[in-house]
Symmetry: C3
Subunit: 460 residues, 3 copies
């Protein structure tokens, strides 16, 4: 018999067993009894998939970091990486201290359904009480309380990260840190609660359940995460203004991405993470559900990439790598609302439309002088709305298991986008008044890395 680390870890169960006499079966209603029963294996695999999905969504933060730094100028790289490290840290901790319970409030009383006060997550699921058992077994969900929390926490931080890309290269670090902390902790959970937390959008279009008028459907967050982030970004950019020198009387000056391999690494990692983002949103390892979501997710990403390649080739007369990369992301954002309700071929079309749309949208925002260095408003905002509406166009009610309504999709996505825009605008505007949101001209010219961080990203 080999001594194993295992022995140490399993000690709690041994202790419990000892307390009751070594050979007695575990008491009914305990975690040990559940794990000895016939549902344990299924619960374990469901739970494991949620955890692996959390890890996959975590690595999206490296994807966001490298896409954003790759598409910006060399002189702002440290600043961008720093912002992203900060966001994932504050996002996780803020969600722990406030957001999770604000987003999934339970709504025990009828009051509101628009807003709930957050509270810190529970810290007491240990020992062998029945409460632990209920929260660690199928009574809570197909996964544990902790898995629920860590998966949703990894999601939460993505919203603020989306804004980071749009305001890059001129935003004042301290102001952005305050903005991002508030956005991710206090604002993201509000719109999140509307749908996933059982708020007014959940069952919108009917009563609590399935009815004749159709319901708002946002499977993994085309609106709740991506359009939220994209329109928060738009508001922030309007408050902030474009990078100096980008738009002038002589026309628009292209600012080149400083490291396209870095951007490509980011996009592929985001694509990888999306299998957890969408696949984990099945909220179990259900074979039919997860397999289909993998196919719709992958095919929409591929469709988006191809469509952006050809659209940009036609419009810009050259095969544009950053458009191809953004096209894959656009396809993924596009399918996020309907990954569970759209067929594989539908997914290709939804993704392809998103891929074409993102090219036109990037050019449009550049034309109207809204400066978004990484295309975040187009990728996440515009394609987030498109993806939400696409459920009504391409979704199958047999797959969704709900009546689908164009009006419900439209009202839902516009409500979320408008709320994100308004809150972001107000918050960033207040910060502008109080402490400023922009670095001064000299710092912007010199680059934020040396000016704010005292360190270049690259040296010999």
């Amino acid at each position: 018999m080999r001594m194993l680390k295992k022995l140490m870890f399993l000690a709690p169960l041994l202790l419990t067993a000892t307390a009751f006499g070594q050979d007695e079966p575990p008491a009914e209603g305990t975690y040990e009894a559940f794990m000895a029963g016939s549902d344990a294996a299924m619960f374990t695999v469901n739970n494991l998939w949620i955890l692996i999905s959390a890890a996959l969504v975590f690595i999206m933060h490296l994807g966001f970091s490298t896409v954003e730094s790759g598409l910006c100028q060399k002189k702002n790289t440290v600043n961008i990486l720093f912002k992203n490290v900060f966001i994932v840290c504050i996002g996780g901790l803020g969600y722990m201290a406030y957001g999770f319970n604000g987003m999934y409030p339970g709504w025990e009383e009828p009051f509101g359904k628009f807003w709930a006060m957050g509270t810190p997550i529970t810290n007491t699921f240990y020992g062998d009480s029945a409460a632990v058992a209920a929260n660690m077994t199928g009574e809570y969900a197909d996964y544990t309380y902790w898995s629920d929390f860590i998966f949703q926490a990894m999601f939460a931080a993505t919203a603020a990260t989306i804004v980071s890309g749009a305001v890059a290269e001129r935003v004042k670090l301290s102001s952005f840190m305050i903005y991002a902390a508030i956005l991710v902790t206090f604002i993201y959970p509000i719109t999140g609660s509307w749908e996933w937390g059982g708020g007014w959008l959940n069952g919108f279009g009917g009563a609590e359940g399935v009815d004749d008028t159709g319901q708002f459907i946002d499977f993994a967050g085309s609106s709740l995460v991506h359009a939220f982030g994209g329109f928060a970004a738009l508001a922030a950019v309007l408050v902030l203004g474009p990078r100096r020198g980008k738009y002038s009387a002589e026309g628009t000056k292209p600012i080149l991405p400083h490291n396209l391999p870095l951007a490509a690494i980011g996009v592929f990692l985001l694509f990888l993470g999306w299998f957890g983002f969408n696949g984990g949103s099945v909220l179990s390892a259900d074979p039919q559900g997860v397999s289909r979501v993998f196919v719709t997710t992958g095919m929409a990403g591929f469709g988006g990439g191809l469509a952006a390649i050809f659209t940009s080739w036609i419009v810009l007369k050259k095969p544009d790598l950053s458009m191809a990369l953004n096209g894959m992301l656009a396809g993924l954002v596009g399918i996020t609302a309907g990954a569970g309700a759209i067929t594989p071929y539908g997914a290709v079309v939804v993704g392809a439309i998103a891929g074409a749309l993102v090219v036109l949208s990037v050019l449009f925002f550049d034309k109207i002088k809204i400066d978004d260095p990484v295309g975040a408003i187009s990728v996440h905002g515009v394609c987030g709305i498109w993806g939400t509406l696409a459920v009504a166009i391409f979704g199958k009610e047999e797959l969704a298991g709900e009546k689908i309504s164009f009006m419900a999709q439209l009202i839902g996505t516009l409500s979320i986008s408008a709320f994100a825009f308004a809150c972001s605008f107000a918050l960033f505007f207040i910060l502008k008044m109080v402490m400023g949101v922009r670095v001064d001209e000299q710092e912007e010219a010199e680059g934020l890395d040396v000016a704010e961080h005292g360190s270049p990203a690259y040296a010999d």
Copy 2:
């Protein structure tokens, strides 16, 4: 009770349940009945592993992208990344529209077994019909139809990616795009069908089943994927010719890799992905099978790395990083055919021989003036053949579960390699005649990034 996204997703089952009255058990033969039964947990974990493997093989495409761009010159980086984005997109969609069903045709009639017409994948697995149930449960395989498709689709695109590295830095983009699309969609499934699709090589050496004369064995594709890609690459390079200035009257000019950290990122990501490439090819999460394959895969990669380190140190008189990196890949390619049939120590030897071989092979191809910027012909072609033959030398019949025959391995790997070479040569030659396959001298000197894409990979 917390409201969960889950409620939305599970609605189809609720609907079905409602249709039959809330409390009745699901009808026999339905998906719901299967998922309520005792095989459901095992099916779910098997299926999940195939999906996770698909995600791991997906990230190999980032590995290929970064290895190739890292080992080539700075001025062609955008072009390389663009090709790789295109390949994974067209690979996935082409496999959906044609390749999957061409590779796994069923061969219902005896005709052929050499070629089958592909068709689009099925799009109708939703609703609650018995057909869905059969395709989503153990009646089809240990995983769903969708998992089967997405896993195989991620594989398919790797073949064309291998060629991409060999023709880098001088190939004409549009011609390569057409070539890659045809290779991955129409040609790869043909040789794939010979073995994995139940064609003439499956059971080759005997009747349909296990017999006395031995069978062709290619566990995860040393021949079907790697030698296929490597010999397609060799043909393409012969049609294309070397990079200008590489070989001249004054001798061979070394062209330095522009970014070795990028190449190292790529190799480690490929190694990671290989755990899904080989591990997923067990086609279930069977503990004995997958655990052993993880060990053989890992140890062969390590053996390949060490052998290449020492071989290159002796031959080149210096510790060469790109040889060390290619050595790890060579070891992985080498074990791919026999990952299920070779013992862990056998795997070290197979990997080490591959690691030594790749060093000599790279030097050999350079000597005979076949210009392969990343060593793809050596890594995938030469070591793919070696790995296939190694099954006959190091494979254990108790592990393979089949009689092993050197002749079957030799005929199998040469057939696949020769077919890949011939098709690739013909296709690329026709493209050369019709539209040219090479950029002009000035574009090659300037670099494809600016010449074809109008954008450098790196800027300030």
Copy 3:
């Protein structure tokens, strides 16, 4: 019916079945019988998680490679990557040939418990003997022998990798290769066996089981892996001396990191891998265990990042990216010993203290002129000790399932750190006497890439 690769792989079982007559149930005590039974699904998911964890720990080696190369100078990048490729290869193979059985010796006789002779791993687990069944099913552990080996092998190589960072930019390659091979193969398993192999520290503070005086607890290796590596690194740096020009009469010269995006990629990949490092150390997919470990691991990393951001901002007067990155790692190292015994909020505090500590520690070692280019001594050594002691401060006995004792933690971590320091010092000192451990002045100035490897990392 589709022909599948599966058919080939499952052939061993078919053969066995055939031998006994197609319809007879598998003989009791065989692997086939186990897999047909009711524990099979649970075993399969447990085993799968150990394998996925092994893959996650594997990718940490890419994390180490890129952190180290990113934080050092451009001119030594190839050398750093080469060392890391070598370490992971020799680490895996050395653990196979000696270390695994030296670390988990079984201690059948009472002699020792301080040291056991290693032997090669077993190579015979195939065929259908009862021995195979026992080692491939729950009789051995919740996972197979092969999964056990590959998971522990991936761990082993991390210890030598930690040293690599501290001695970077001036160590002689051949000497370091010998040092690393000996450290990982022969020394790491000794301290490993003390606790995880059932040696004198396992159950230290009492008898074999749980008793009144408390036990040494090191869940996933704050001491056994990180403090081991960190103090081995300290010894090596003392033998080696600082980089030339770093400390002079005029004061300390900062040597800038050459590529911070590369360092950021590394830290995020290490964070990702840590979910397998800690999560896999549950040694099963137990939902309560793994879910809680994911939360403590993630939150400690986030706490560490935030604390380092604010600590460095206060101390250095600027928001320092490399401190933020090292802070996340410090938090992760800090929680590694107590990931299973500390609550989520406890984890935030443990991580935050580690994050503050690492900033002060890096500055301290720089002040006393111990030159550690990547901060490995602080991150792994100092925070490894902190993490081990933190179990005694923040650990809950209900979670640990053991009595917790500050003295046991202190004695355990100091023993391991001191042993690692002493062995590393002796070994590196002998190498210094015999063959030298440092490159000459000119090579150091020129950079190891060109001087030792004949190749720059970056070119045009």
